[in-house]
Amino acid sequence: GSPSTSTDAPPAGRSTGASGGPVAGTVTVLAAASLTESFDAIQAELHHTHPALTVRISYGSSATLVQQVNQGAPADVLALAGEAAADPLDASLVRSTTVFASNSLEIAVPPGNPGHVTALDDLARPDLKVVLCESTVPCGAAAATTLEKAHVNAHVVSREIDVKATLAKVSLGEADAAVVYHSDVVAAKGAVRGVPIPASVNTDLRYPVIALDDQPGTRAFIDAVLSPDGRRTLDALGFGAP
């Protein structure tokens, strides 16, 4: 897809980032846990272009981040896993919203694949322990959609609170399979193996980055996410184009 804005503000970053010089100050970013590796890398890049800009990133589950913002946490940027996660967000706090990446689902299995999972249908086997994200979490909602499309009634033993916890159950070998994001399988660096889900039943998530104010640092950070360097970083870690 293409960048989309859901508010009146114009796509914030590009112009400012291109025109302005180095920015100083502090920017506080709340980011979904699945973005940990990518945003850490982007933060490092940003330090080269804006050495005087202090970036503070707090990672958590998307739903918690939204709660924090609603309850008045002093944040400048909010990056969420899936647009649906932003639904509970108090709209009056939002300056601009830009989708900067996408992610698709994949089956994660422990190395060696002890459950011999080869396709989505296998998840219905009663001898298999399947974990999913809780349906309130973006990855859980997506997994539900996909399983429904494929008419698979998965043998679920637990619905985890976020995608990382879901993945951990597989990497520890406690569960035989989990439905997670492709980016998470990449980030797990061999701790789990991926079993692809056909595009016909797969569900894509679009990750929005939300500006909560108009400070220069806010714009500088969002620009860095949207910049070609940022794009490359996200690509390398398994995220798709927005």
Binding site: S61, A63, T64, Q67, N70, P88, K129, V131, E134, T136, V137, V156, V157, S158, R159, E160, I161, A165, A168, K169, L172, G173, E174
Partner: protein
């Protein structure tokens, strides 16, 4: 009480009360009271609460049965082993609950140091209600043991001398004198441990998972609801608080001064 002591003590005490009570007040103020009843009775809230009560009372029982002898043995010896054991017992207090959950998986899980042998017999603990009880016991028992040990150390040692010369073995002394006398300590230890178990979240979700009716305790249900529907989460929290205040009130009213 004189004015000086009212100010000198009342001031800090009032601050302490505010720090503890204001957040509860905020929770109650922000609750959507029109919805509370519906939130509680509808949905998974009731199931979660029932599971919480079952598991926390099992945990309390486990503490009573396993923790009381341990507290007794700790209270009666002062050797190096005892001191180290007591230090090690406080470790589960310090362990971040999520790490505790991971450690429990490493122990009782499919590949855990104990669990791998259980798996051979077809016993798998994670993702079961038993796992919830184990997780809750792991985090709650230290509170119980420490409270009861303290109470037992407060007993006059001469009472034991008297009981022993009257013909009571140490077990009989424990049963007929020491335990009845530390009932207040046991009650407050149980209250602490039960409360800690009732609020347990991280270790449970990590070790036992989160499945409605089997392993989704009230705190997990609250957390899930919080992500989608904060008002429902608040309602459920208020119910949880109500239950705990009633249970602790009964326990304390009966046994604790």
């Amino acid at each position: 009480m004189t004015w000086r002591s009212r100010l000198g003590l009342g001031g800090p005490a009032a601050v302490a009360v505010l720090v503890l009570v204001l957040p509860l007040v905020a929770l109650l103020l922000r609750a959507d009271w029109g919805r509370v009843l519906g939130d509680i009775t509808g949905g998974t809230g009731v199931l979660a609460l029932r599971l919480s009560l079952v598991t926390t009372f099992s945990t309390a029982l486990g503490c009573l049965v396993l923790g009381t002898p341990l507290a007794w043995l700790l209270a009666r010896s002062d050797g190096l082993v005892t001191r180290w054991l007591r230090a090690v017992l406080t470790v589960p207090l310090v362990l971040p609950p999520v790490v505790g959950g991971v450690a429990l998986l490493m122990t009782w899980g499919r590949r855990g140091i104990v669990g791998q042998h259980l798996t051979a017999f077809g016993v798998e603990i994670p993702f079961t209600t038993v796992a919830v009880v184990i997780a809750e016991t792991f985090v709650a028992m230290p509170y119980y043991v420490l409270a009861v040990e303290g109470a037992m150390r407060g007993l006059d040692p001469r009472l034991e001398s008297i009981a022993r010369t009257l013909g009571a073995s140490d077990l009989r002394y424990l049963r007929t004198v020491a335990l009845p006398l530390v009932v207040p300590g046991i009650a407050s230890g149980l209250a602490l441990a039960w409360a800690r178990a009732l609020g347990e979240f991280g270790a449970t979700i990590t070790f036992a998972g989160n499945l409605v009716g089997t392993t989704q305790t009230a705190p997990l249900a609250v957390y899930v609801a919080l992500q989608q529907d904060p008002a429902a989460a608040t309602s459920l929290s208020i119910l949880l608080l109500g239950v705990s205040v009633v249970v602790l009130g009964l326990l304390r009213g009966r046994w604790v001064r």
